[in-house]
């Protein structure tokens, strides 16, 4: 028995379930979500404060008569134990910390890209050597090494601190990059390019690097967070950059001036708060980058689910059937 039907109509949409791709996605940028917007705004505000703030505040090192005074009209965030203006210090400290973050971000990017991308791409004994080196550096504990090195050099500049942090921090990123590069290296379009005779350096630049950009971006953001937190920790231990203002050194002086015990919250809270907020902003940005790197996460987010046109009963039925 034959079952005939009329000629079938074409399916509504060839791409199953895909809305027309918005312009942002075509550029390869992460989709603008509330999280990303919050992160960018917050991070941008702090960055602005660090860049422009020092131009508008008092001299942070200048000593006034009121020691450990609360916020007032003359000193918006009060003064330190030695009578220095906290707001001014905060502005310079923001600039200092962001500088450390930037330096470490760039250095980490260069080091991890070198050991994590060029190495595995070259393959062979060079890859083995780089991988071994990366793993050894990774496994040797960083902070104790930094402490030991720092103890031999009593007066450190901001650059030295940044340098030491980079040297101990690049290995994690390199390993992640290496894993990803290895998987990219055997993808079909790379093999096709090699068969076509393209120069290896060109393949690296044109085929591989663009795909690495989201991952590189995410790693740089991690590196900056790590740098700022690391510098703060070092300064707290008294091993930070002497003579510079960073959030960490502010907290060190605040702790030594017994700010918290004496209730001088205006000295202790703002640097830590800015640190936390900046770190949170960077984390939010990283979340959004994560959604590009791992598309499976995209479909499961609550935002994606809102795009479904299912009735409550249908969702209930589905919930019964699936786990």
């Amino acid at each position: 028995m034959a079952l005939n039907t009329q000629a079938a109509e074409p399916i509504d949409s060839a791409a199953v379930g895909a809305a027309p791709r918005p312009a942002r996605r075509r550029l390869g940028l992460p989709p603008m979500t509330a999280k990303l917007a919050a992160g960018l705004v917050l991070g941008g505000a702090i960055l602005f404060f660090g860049l422009v703030g020092p131009l508008f505040v008092q001299d942070p090192a200048e000593v006034h008569d009121l020691g450990l005074a609360g916020p007032s009209a003359a000193h918006l965030l009060g003064t330190t134990q030695t009578g220095q203006d906290v707001l001014a210090q905060l502005a310079y400290a923001t600039r200092g910390s962001l500088t450390v973050g930037a330096i470490v971000g760039v250095l980490t990017l260069l080091l991890s890209a070198f050991f994590g991308v060029v190495g595995p791409y070259a393959g062979g004994w060079l890859d083995e050597l780089f991988s071994l080196f990366t793993n050894v550096v990774l496994v040797i504990p960083g902070l104790p090494l930094v402490i030991v090195i720092s103890s031999y050099v009593p007066d450190k500049s901001l650059w030295l601190v940044a340098l030491v942090l980079s040297i101990t921090g690049w290995a994690g990123s390199a390993r992640v990059l290496r894993g990803y590069t290895l998987s990219l290296r055997s993808r079909d379009y790379v093999l096709a390019a090699r068969v076509a005779g393209e120069k290896r350096s060109r393949i690296l630049a044109v085929e591989i690097l663009p795909n690495l950009i989201p991952l590189l971006a995410s790693q740089v953001v991690f590196a900056v967070i790590f740098a700022i937190l690391g510098e703060a920790g070092l300064s707290y231990l008294g091993l930070g950059a002497s003579g510079s203002f960073t959030w960490g050194t502010m907290l060190y002086y605040a702790q030594n001036g017994l700010a918290l015990r004496l209730g001088a919250w205006w000295w202790f809270v703002p640097p830590g708060l800015l640190l936390a907020l900046f770190g949170a902003a960077l984390s939010l940005i990283n979340f959004s980058i994560d959604e590009i790197i791992n598309p499976k996460l995209r479909n499961q987010t609550r935002a994606a689910r809102r795009g479904w046109r299912m009735s409550r009963q249908q969702l209930e039925k589905a919930r019964e059937a699936t786990l």
Binding site: M1, A2, L3, N4, T5, A7, A8, E9, P10, I11, D12, S13, V16, G17, A18, A19, R305, G307, W308, R309, M310, Q314, L315, K317, A318, E320, A321, T322
Partner: protein, 298 residues
Amino acid sequence: MTAPVLTVENLSIDYLVEPVVHAVRNVSFSLRRGEVLGLAGESGCGKSTLAYAIVRLLKPPSAVTSGRAVFHSREGVDIDWNELGAGDLRAVRWTKISMVFQGAMNSLNPVISIRDQLEDVFTTHRPEMRRRERRERCARLLDRVGVDGARLHAYPHELSGGMRQRVMIAMAMALEPQVMIMDEPTTALDVVVQREILGEISRLRDELGFAVLFITHDLPLLLEISDRIAVMRAGEIVELADALHLYTEPQHEYTRQLLASFPSLTGERGSFVRGGFDERLLALDAVRADEPTTGSAL
């Protein structure tokens, strides 16, 4: 044994996003007890979606928007799977209808042994079974599909593709279901292994009497093992007939197109049909080597 074991009535499945995609449109057919029903069609025609819907494995945003699929058990009970609650659904899965999935490459849990994966259908659905009996059953199952019993202790990555597929078949047979839905079970395998697996399936069906819904894009394969064949296109069944009739007297244009697209080892040079009925189909619309291609003539 011609009573149906599964009846699909006016089943429609949509992918509920913006804009809505109609994956399966108003499909009806019945699966008779013990028969092999082939479901053929090109990629994206909805055959897998249809199969998943029968056992309620569809994930949101896919949903059945109309119609139903009813399972008729041997005891005479009719079960509409869509109406079952979560607990009942789990109980009836695998015991009445089991599945063999496409590309067993990733269908087995990579971190637990083969034995654990075979045994857990028993521990879940036959909790009264004792350990020794379970072990024996598993060993016998593997034996039946031609896999060495020593493989019980192995992990999936230690087995070849063909062996993994056999394990999946053994797993599907474990509770002696009345229907087995096979979604492209041999597509990822080389032809020699394919032939062996098909042989196993036919043999097991003869021994145990379960019905098979065999889904694949490979129509000639279905011609050899199916009793009846349904051809799907763009979410609809365009033709459903006896395998022999489908091959010799295809009614629908698309069926003819599909048949005409498989290369042949015999017949005239340039002819595109497998098997011995070349003359008749050549007369219909097979491509000639000396004519400019204009596609189907009818």
